[in-house]
């Protein structure tokens, strides 16, 4: 049996751990640079604050409803997540950390266990130690565990945060309840197509024939159908490498100065390279995008992106920064006024492990880069953030993220630990 453990409103719950006065009150957490809402407590959901709500538009709403607003404090969230995952590991050795607030567990050899009870125990332990509430869904496959988790979350009174799909009847009932767009891995576009051919819920989807799905959709959806019917095809991906890594920011002020934009994009590329090196992988595709403010009425909305493949897989700051700037050069109009850009980012994908790169007949990375990068990482680790930079980065300026409502880093910084009286 698989279980999916999912923390409830994770970021909002983390803000409450060291500040119990927030219990029962609406809490929202904003994205980087205080752009939009990325997490809501149940109370904030009940007040009708949508996911992704732009902070500046809701400023009044926040004040009127006395909503507690926080900048995202990733140091705290990462630490709390780490604690939750450590507790899970002590209960079940086979675990796949799926995201910062979700993990799959594989219960192998737990035949004599009452899994619902066991899951309740896990849930209770996580709450006692971290004060983070979780929901647990248990089922024979990962896709069904995801469904069971949804049920546990939607009906807390009935199931007390744990739900198990362990019979054909429960499975059919759950599938008939689940809307197409809520199936794991079915996007908005796909669910539109499904509703067009008459699939109202997940059960209808499983009635489609294998051939039909394969012909009209893809092998991915076929696997999903099998999973939903209880046949386990998706296995526990224990060390999952990320599919892509992105570093993107909304700027505090719009940028229409090409030199300035270049510095920022170069910094994003360097940050992506650092993330790649940290998980010992390389990328082959790099994408750069720029966009203007979609709420600005003075100019039309511009959103452009460009990608290129690299000649060889790389995680070198120098190579990625060069490629990113090459792309940016093509993106930004050569003549006339540069638009007021509000947001830019670098995304790297086609990620492979560091040690199994494709050879290229004509180009290879200079072996010097590897040594250079490791020295750079070491120096930056020892002497604080980004002492050593590429010249194309913002060398003089000290650029800071807008984090006006950051809570203290209670668990990761000595000066921020909770004072008790």
């Amino acid at each position: 049996m698989y279980a999916l453990v999912d923390c409830n409103n994770f970021y909002a719950s983390c803000e409450r751990v060291f500040n119990p006065t927030l219990n029962g009150k609406p809490v929202v957490v904003l994205s980087n640079n205080d752009g939009c809402v990325i997490a809501r407590s149940n109370e904030a959901k009940d007040l009708g604050i949508p996911m992704g709500a732009p902070a500046f538009e809701y400023e009044n709403n926040f004040r009127l409803n006395k909503i507690n607003v926080f900048s995202s404090n990733y140091a705290l969230y990462a630490d709390m997540s780490n604690r939750v995952m450590m507790i899970l590991k002590s209960y079940c050795p086979d675990i796949e950390i799926y995201s910062i607030d979700e993990s799959f567990l594989l219960f192998k050899g737990f035949d004599n266990y009452d899994l619902v009870n066991y899951a309740q125990e896990i849930k209770q332990k996580i709450y006692t130690i971290t004060k983070i509430p979780v929901c647990i869904g248990i089922a024979p496959t990962k896709a069904l565990a995801k469904v069971a988790n949804r049920i546990a979350k939607k009906f807390p009174k009935h199931h007390n945060g744990v739900y198990m799909i362990d019979s054909k009847e429960k499975m059919v009932k759950a599938l008939k309840w689940l809307k197409c767009e809520d199936i794991w891995g079915i996007g908005r576009q796909l669910s539109k197509r499904l509703s067009f051919i008459g699939c109202k819920n997940a059960y209808d989807f499983t009635l489609l024939s294998d051939e039909y799905i394969k012909r009209n959709f893809s092998i991915v959806e076929l696997r999903l159908k099998k999973e939903l019917l209880g046949e386990s095809v998706l296995k526990l991906d224990e060390v999952q490498r990320k599919k892509s890594i992105a570093t993107t920011r909304s700027f505090e002020k719009t940028i229409n100065d090409y030199e300035n934009l270049k510095e920022r994009v170069s910094t994003f590329a360097v940050s992506c390279a650092e993330k790649l090196r940290k998980e010992q992988s390389k990328c082959n595709i790099i994408t750069v995008f720029v966009m203007t403010n979609r709420f600005d009425e003075k100019q039309s909305f511009v959103s452009n992106s460009l990608s290129t493949t690299l000649d060889f897989d790389s995680n070198s700051s120098i190579v990625l920064s060069k490629s990113a700037l090459f792309l940016l050069d093509k993106l930004v109009p050569a003549e006339g006024k540069v638009p007021d850009y509000k947001k830019a980012g670098v995304i790297v994908s086609a990620i492979t492990p560091d040690n199994q790169a494709q050879m290229n007949l004509f180009h290879t990375e200079s072996p010097k880069h590897k040594a250079l990068m490791s020295v750079m990482d070491q120096l930056n680790a020892n002497y604080g953030d980004h002492m050593l930079k590429l010249a194309s980065q913002d060398v003089r300026r000290k650029w800071k993220m807008k984090q006006e409502r950051l809570s203290p880093c209670y668990t990761t910084r000595f000066t921020d630990i909770l004072n008790v009286y």
Binding site: G24, D79, R83, T130, T411, F414, I417, N419, Y421
Partner: protein, 152 residues
């Protein structure tokens, strides 16, 4: 590999010392006297790694650090003391706990299990909390260890 830790000075330069929740231990290495001449016969047997984590961070996932901010628990605790608290253990009678009652801010009290009270040790503070059955009590943790800097 042995990793060295710097002894934190609590100055601005050394703020970024995370509690490690990865369970990996850091070691403080003690060097014996360096002497010329005949090598010490004990040199081969020196087990020269001591980690404070081994006694202070047994369960990193359940350990939090708090600092005493006031005088309410004087004389046993002084302002500025570092508290190592554990959230995975049940408080017993006369344990010192960091606790929130009815969603108040966390406060630092001694737990009197017999009279169901939370007590401030400082006689000047008369803010005992009498716990009622319907109170919502959230315990951040039980104090297991105390780090006090005798001098800087």
């Amino acid at each position: 590999m042995v990793q060295f830790i710097q002894v934190p000075k609590f100055s601005e330069e050394l703020i970024n010392i995370p509690i490690k929740t990865d369970g990996e231990k850091r070691f403080v290495q003690f060097f014996g006297d360096v002497s010329a001449g005949f090598p010490s016969p004990a040199a081969d047997f020196v087990q020269n790694n001591i980690s404070l984590d081994e006694i202070l961070l047994l369960h990193p996932e359940a350990t939090y650090l708090n600092r005493v901010g006031g005088e309410s628990m004087y004389p046993e605790y002084l302002k500025g003391d570092l508290l190592i608290i554990r959230s995975d253990i049940e408080p017993r009678h006369h344990d010192d706990i960091v606790v929130s009652v009815n969603n108040s801010e966390y406060t630092f009290k001694r737990y009197d299990a017999i009279n169901k009270q939370l007590i401030s040790l400082n006689p000047k503070y008369k803010n005992c909390i009498q716990l009622q059955d319907e109170d919502v009590v959230i315990i951040l943790g039980v104090v297991t260890d105390l780090v006090r800097h005798k001098r800087n």
